[in-house]
């Protein structure tokens, strides 16, 4: 189809309004069905046995006692998930993570699984499985893992990306480098140079719904999977490949999803549930406990980052450099690379260099978490930027405005920017009343900027017009936070009908073409593009049908505000035909009316945000309190502004939790000490103030309505904004996230003791 995705300025009647979401009533009445709310006849309960060791060779697994227990219908180990990955290293890692093959690589790594008639029997069966481990030395800290004497996690890994091919294996899987210019020359021109080191601890996405699925494999090799996921098409692909099935034989239905934030973009237990069902010959429901969620799914990287920035007296940055080390868990990733790409993306730099190191550690496999890798890099860079502004004696906002990237700037990660929002968000912050509000004793204000790429990708939608003129919209991007409302608005806008006549659903993998998953802030961006395309295709059909009804040429029929309008003087007496009228006649004019779209949504516009935060610190205990918080972010075009605000607020709250209290705590034994919501401390309602938002709309030239992704950028600035606020409140630079009370108090005591 000849779909033109370019932005054109226009007025909107539906887009930009704030209607109630189509899935809302189900969710306030308890009827919405999430991963664990679905059951099948004859269903068994699946449970997974997990390694208590951070690093151990699995010498032998004896499942015979468990198999003999009454009520146990299947016991599986890695043998039941044979390696069908055919040299695909990334898929092999996914397989090994789902079920350890030779070694257990982290506390919580799956080593066996059972399916039994009930949860109690399944639990008992796990206790009867005997695993003979040879415990190996482990390493969980990112800096320790890089040392020469560190225990090797995978002796087949030789660092990629080095000038000289290494002769010895290493925990560093890859070195990557980005930038341009000559940083040595740049630093030579600087009047002031700030050089600092930072650390951030590992955090979890913390979705409230644990991973859950129901798998049913039939004797004929077909299968169904009901699962909470951000991408059921990707899950189908991965599960089919790991189990040796044809993708079309596996129908995956995405349940309502109770939060994902990137953590539900990876398969964890789903291949295991399918393998159990295949062996048992019955459906298997597998729901992770909260402890399993923390020990074996999710987390983001822990990092160690060095930053060096130089500037002239007038505030012009002359050079910027960063070295970023990101933990990947026990499998290769590209987390440091993303950090290296995003670190200086907010700024216009002549000379910039970033180097990333991907580091293996005995922790769960790193998963995407909302703008993955960017918050840590922004924390380090934006902290150093504040320090540099202070040394120069410039206001931190003015300093950033002076160096902000703009249209035409070559980004530190390569491309040249189109119209972007970093400058406008900074100007908005400069003029925001929050920046002028008075502060009290022990209170400090901080601000920081953030960037995220946003993704597009493969997208497919179906738009079907019923004979009553109502519209069913089937999309393939999972709705994680209100996108069915946004996409219904877009369909209504394009067709020129009222929102109430559109109903959007998320279709299963057998009902719609392939869609990439809801990640990279792509859900509304890409599916709205596909929806517009599908609607325009439907309009083409509607015009043809109207032409037929009028018996005139289709070129003489235009589509205006939900009606076919006959154009030209000779048709002046024909009036208008509404969508409803055309739909009612469809049975006689050629059958059902629909519009379809399959496209690759290119050109997701980059997104920038600037946040302001006021913090009060209790200097006697190191306790912090967030007093006020403001988010300013470019949305391109806010399709449903309330849900855009929701994304801004939610990302900020997650960033606040990360900045202040959330962290994975490992014992010396390499075991996770806090796998629960009691001691993995996500913000509670009383921890937070209202979170003010300001939506800027700088249209994305690559989307018909100017839409940019909005979901992720909001988690990028908070770590730095809060660190800057704390530092301004107490006069001590905090360089280790989270800034938990013991860390703040220790820093204050160290300062007092001089």
């Amino acid at each position: 189809m000849n779909f033109d995705p370019r932005y054109s300025n226009r007025s909107f009647s539906s887009v930009g309004t704030r209607p109630i979401r189509p899935d809302g009533v189900d969710k306030v009445t308890g009827r919405a069905r999430y991963g664990a709310d679905f059951n099948m006849a004859g269903q068994l309960v699946g449970r997974i046995l997990r390694s208590p060791h951070a690093h151990a060779v699995i010498k032998k697994i004896d499942t015979s006692k468990a198999e003999k227990l009454a009520g146990v219908k299947a016991v599986i180990t890695a043998k039941d998930l044979p390696d069908l990955t055919d040299g695909d290293a990334a898929m092999y890692d996914i397989l090994d993570n789902c079920m350890a093959r030779k070694k257990a690589l982290y506390d919580g790594h799956a080593v066996a699984a059972v399916a039994a008639i009930d949860a109690r029997t399944a639990r008992q069966a796990l206790k009867l499985i005997e695993v003979d481990y040879e415990v190996l030395p482990h390493v969980t800290d990112v800096d320790e893992a890089m040392k020469h004497h560190a225990p090797l996690i995978n002796d087949a890994i030789f660092t990629e990306g080095l000038e000289e091919k290494p002769v010895k294996p290493s925990n560093v899987t890859k070195r990557t480098q980005y930038g341009h210019g000559d940083v040595h020359q740049g630093f030579a021109q600087a009047d002031f140079v700030v050089e600092r080191s930072f650390k951030t601890e590992q955090t979890h996405q913390g979705y409230i719904e644990p991973h859950a699925c129901v798998a049913s494999v039939n004797p004929d090799g077909t299968a169904e999977l009901w699962v909470c996921t951000q991408g059921h098409f990707v899950y189908r692909q991965h599960c089919a490949q790991l189990l040796g099935m044809e993708a079309s034989k596996l129908r995956v239905t995405s349940s309502e999803i109770g939060g994902g934030f990137g953590g539900k973009t990876h398969v964890w237990a789903e291949p295991v549930a399918l393998a159990l069902s295949r062996k048992a010959g019955r459906p298997v429901k597998l729901v992770m406990t909260r402890e399993e969620v923390f020990r074996a799914s999710g987390p983001t990287s822990a990092t160690s980052i060095d930053v060096k920035i130089g500037a002239k007296k007038d505030g012009t940055i002359t050079a910027a450099e960063a070295t970023l080390r990101y933990s990947c868990g026990p499998y290769a990733g590209m987390w440091a690379e993303i950090g290296a790409m995003t670190a200086f993306a907010c700024y216009k730099l002549e000379n910039v260099k970033t180097v990333g190191y991907e580091v293996l550690v005995n922790r769960p496999k790193t998963a995407a978490y909302r703008a993955p890798s960017a918050p840590m890099a922004a924390f380090a860079v934006e902290s150093a930027v504040d320090e540099l502004a202070k040394e120069i004696g410039m206001d931190p906002v003015d300093f950033r405005i002076k160096n902000a990237a703009q249209e035409g700037t070559r980004a530190s990660y390569g491309p040249v920017y189109g119209p972007i929002g970093i400058g406008p968000t900074l100007e908005a912050v400069k003029n925001h009343p929050h920046m002028k509000a008075p502060l009290g004793l022990n209170q400090g204000r901080g601000m920081a900027c953030g960037f995220w790429f946003n993704f597009g990708g493969q997208t497919c939608t179906d738009l079907n017009i019923g004979m009553d003129g109502s519209v069913s919209l089937a999309v393939g991007t999972v709705d994680v936070g209100g996108s069915r409302a946004s996409l219904s608005l877009v369909a209504a806008e394009e067709l020129g009908i009222d929102y109430s006549h559109v109903k959007a659903i998320v279709a299963d993998t057998s009902s719609l073409g392939y869609n990439d998953m809801t990640d990279g802030s792509r859900g509304t961006f890409s599916s709205s593009m596909a929806t517009i395309s599908a609607a325009r295709n439907a309009i083409k059909v509607l015009r043809e049908r109207a032409a037929q009804m009028w018996d005139i040429g289709v070129d003489d029929v235009a589509w205006e505000k939900g009606h076919a309008v006959a154009k030209g003087e000779k048709h002046g007496n024909l009036g208008k035909l509404s969508l409803k009228e055309i739909a009612a006649a469809s049975g006689k004019t050629g059958g059902p009316i629909a519009g379809h779209s399959e496209l690759v949504a290119d050109g997701a516009g980059v997104s920038f945000a600037t946040h302001i935060c006021d913090i009060e610190v209790d200097p006697e205990t190191g306790s912090t309190r967030v007093l006020r918080y403001t988010v300013v972010q470019d949305a391109g075009k806010a399709v449903h502004p309330t849900y855009v605000e929701g994304q801004y607020q939610g990302g900020a709250a997650q960033g606040i939790g990360w900045a202040l209290n959330e962290e994975y705590i490992y014992g010396k034994d390499g075991r996770l000490q806090n796998p629960g919501f009691l001691d993995y401390r996500i913000p509670v309602c009383s921890d937070l103030p209202m979170i003010d938002t300001q939506i800027l709309e700088i249209p994305n030239p690559n989307h018909p309505y100017g839409v940019r992704g909005v979901g992720e950028t909001s988690i990028v600035p908070p770590l730095a904004a809060i660190a800057n606020a704390v530092s301004n409140a107490v006069g001590v630079r905090m360089s280790h996230i989270p800034m938990s009370p013991p860390r703040i108090l220790a820093a204050l005591e160290a300062e007092r003791e001089g």
Binding site: L660, Q673, L678, D679, V684, S686, E749
Partner: protein, 286 residues
């Protein structure tokens, strides 16, 4: 596994005493069910004590208050007389868990769970509360600080049940208070905590004091030296500083996921000062 709901304390004691496998007492269940879920305990017998006559009541007696073992903390907070007499005990009990947990959890459960970080225990110890214990060989009454003997361990013998907590009738010019340090504003376990109970003379001079620290040692600490610092003072700056120093010095804390040794030491002193000031004010001191 059996679940029973006896109607008398004698039946409950008898069932517990006869139990062959592990047995558990269920009042609010907010610790027990978590431990069962985690696989830390698999009781053969669960004895629900909520149907036992009198265990769900708060009685105001000539000697003070008798709080039944099954009284949820939310109910403590709703009792005006108790709140007025022992505000520190009530505010400590009200800090345990969420609103949801408050509707279930009990101070006796908090005591018998024997966590050094239990919120209500430092306040109860500071208040000089006593535990009434029913057992196979009759009843006995002991100081609450004699119940926990270490993390997760108590002095209770097989078949024994703490059936009530006793709090004295309040002397005039008295006040108590409790505070804990947590990283968030709610939902956390105390990193360190302090309870202070004071009685003043008519001139505002402290004539009796009890100071207890939580999460500072394997069991809640009753810091006699801290009480000595307070007695005879009108809680001037110098006294408060000495109190902080003594409390910090009395701590024998550990490093763990919730805090460091240094942090707990330092903050124990800070909290003791703040709590003493509140207790003093509640006692009518200025």
């Amino acid at each position: 596994m059996r679940y029973i709901r006896p109607l008398s304390i004698e039946d409950a004691v008898g069932e517990l005493a006869r139990a062959v496998g592990p047995a558990a007492i269920l009042a609010g269940g907010s610790d027990l069910l978590v431990r069962m879920k985690g696989g830390f305990i698999e009781p053969e017998l669960i004895v629900d004590i909520k149907a036992i006559n009198g265990l769900s009541d708060i009685q105001e007696t000539a000697d003070g208050f008798r709080i039944g073992a099954a009284v949820p903390c939310a109910v403590l907070g709703e009792n005006k007389a108790l709140r007025k007499a022992w505000p520190g005990v009530v505010e400590a009990a009200k800090l345990i868990g969420s609103k949801q947990v408050q509707g279930r959890c009990t101070i006796v459960g908090n005591l018998c769970n024997a966590s050094p970080a239990a919120d209500s225990v430092p306040a109860l110890v500071a208040a000089g509360a006593k535990a009434v214990i029913a057992g196979p060989s009759g009843k006995r009454t002991i100081a609450v600080e004699s119940v926990p003997t270490g993390p997760g361990r108590t002095s209770l013998a097989k078949g024994e049940i703490v059936e009530a907590i006793l709090l004295d009738k309040r002397a005039p010019n008295s006040g108590d208070a409790y505070q804990r340090f947590i990283p968030r504003t709610e939902m956390d376990i105390a990193v360190v905590s302090a309870g202070v109970n004071l009685t003043l003379d008519e001139h505002g001079v402290i004539k009796a004091a009890r100071v207890a620290l939580g999460a500072a040692a394997p069991t809640v600490l009753l810091v006699a030296e801290a009480a000595q610092v307070l007695v005879g003072s009108k809680l001037d700056e110098a006294t408060l500083e000495r109190l902080a120093k003594v409390c910090s010095g009395a701590c024998r804390p550990i490093d763990d996921k919730r805090g460091t040794i240094e942090f707990r030491r330092k903050v124990a002193g800070v909290l003791a000062k703040r709590v003493a000031a509140t207790a003093y004010e509640r006692a009518g001191g200025k």
